[in-house]
């Protein structure tokens, strides 16, 4: 599956990428919201994993942006943040996951069919 990861913390980004690659997925890694919006204009992935605090757009804004495109009903979106339990206005259908409780490897396993 095609996975888009949007994570500005480079340590965490690398761990996420490695975990999803090891789980057999194709991965696109981006570091800020603006890059993600530009990418989504050209290609819609199967899975999106994104942090909440991002340069450019925060995670929830990105998801709202995604909803404005056609053909996104099949995209699974995981909001993966250390702030997961405090985030408000998370759109319906987005799975909010606490970074302090779920490792990248566990997330990759959970997100894989």
């Amino acid at each position: 599956m095609k996975v888009l990861i949007v994570e500005d913390d480079h340590n965490f980004a690398k761990m996420l990428k490695d975990s999803f690659l090891a789980a057999g997925h194709k991965v696109k890694l981006l570091f800020d919201g603006k890059q993600a919006v530009n990418f989504l204009n050209k290609s819609i992935p199967d899975i999106i994993v994104l942090d909440f605090f991002l340069p450019g757009h925060n995670g929830v804004e990105l998801v709202h942006e995604l909803k404005s495109y056609t053909d996104t009903s099949e995209v699974k979106v995981y909001l993966y943040s250390a702030h997961a339990s405090q985030i408000e206005n998370v759109p319906k259908g987005i799975i909010s996951i606490d970074k302090t409780k779920v490792t990248p490897k566990e997330l990759a396993a959970y997100a894989s069919p």
């Binding site: 761990m15 605090f53 702030h83 970074k99 490897k105």
Partner: protein
């Protein structure tokens, strides 16, 4: 003083700095946890991962120390004792720390010290000055385009020693400028630069406790953060 359990929970959680601290400390700790639990157990990889854990722990500990130091002074309303400190030396220390923490990224760093013939002494606090430089260098290296340079420069006027960190990264958001100037935005989801701005808030506070000032100039030609600190002239030392 009220005990923590006597305080309304809303009093604690309305405090933007508290929330910011909680987030900024959780991130390195979550990373450490993930490294430990997900690690590849081969010897070579473990060594690299233990180094990373050490660096992340240092980062989190430094943040906590900064918060406690600033809070202690503000709560006691005492003046920070100021002594002559060499800006050149403390910048050198921060640069070396940056190189240890992030060897690859720190190759982008270009540094211009004040010439030796000029005294780079400021009236300040060695720990605070070091932390200010570390915070600003760290932010610039982390958030600016990896293909561009980060320039740290010390220069002097009659009254001040100034240190400027310049990069070609994305424009510094209003939230970060406000944090340097002493305002942490409250209740907003529009955090800038991928973090809560706590490091920049603390930097701004430390500079003000040293009777200095911070200015931010951010636009199409790049970002320039300048710290101005009172200069110690040579005759004043004797």
């Amino acid at each position: 003083m009220k005990r923590v359990d006597e305080l309304q929970s809303s009093q604690l959680f309305d405090n933007a700095a508290f929330m910011a601290a909680a987030h900024d400390l959780k991130v390195p700790l979550a990373t450490i946890r993930s490294i430990v639990l997900d690690s590849d157990k081969t010897a070579a990889k473990l060594h690299e991962e233990y180094q990373k854990i050490g660096q992340l722990s240092d980062q989190a500990l430094a943040m906590v120390s900064d918060m406690l130091s600033v809070y202690k002074l503000q709560a006691s309303q005492q003046e920070l004792p100021l002594t002559p400190v060499s800006a050149n030396n403390e910048l050198r220390f921060a640069v070396n720390q940056a190189k240890l923490f992030d060897k690859l990224n720190s190759r982008r760093l270009k540094v211009e010290y004040l010439p030796k013939r000029e005294l780079s002494l400021i009236l300040g606090d060695q720990y605070f000055l070091r932390r200010c430089f570390s915070n600003l260098l760290g932010n610039s290296l982390k958030y600016s385009d990896p293909r561009t340079k980060v320039v740290a420069k010390i220069f002097a006027t009659d009254e001040y020693i100034s240190c400027q960190i310049a990069d070609n990264g994305p424009q510094i958001m209003d939230d970060d400028t406000a944090a340097l100037e002493g305002e942490l935005s409250t209740g907003s989801t529009k955090r800038s630069a991928g973090n809560s701005g706590l490091g920049l808030l603390l930097t701004g506070e430390m500079v003000r406790l040293m009777k200095g000032s911070v200015s931010v100039d951010s636009g199409n030609s790049g970002n320039f953060i300048t710290i101005d600190l009172p200069r110690v002239r040579q005759q004043a030392l004797f």
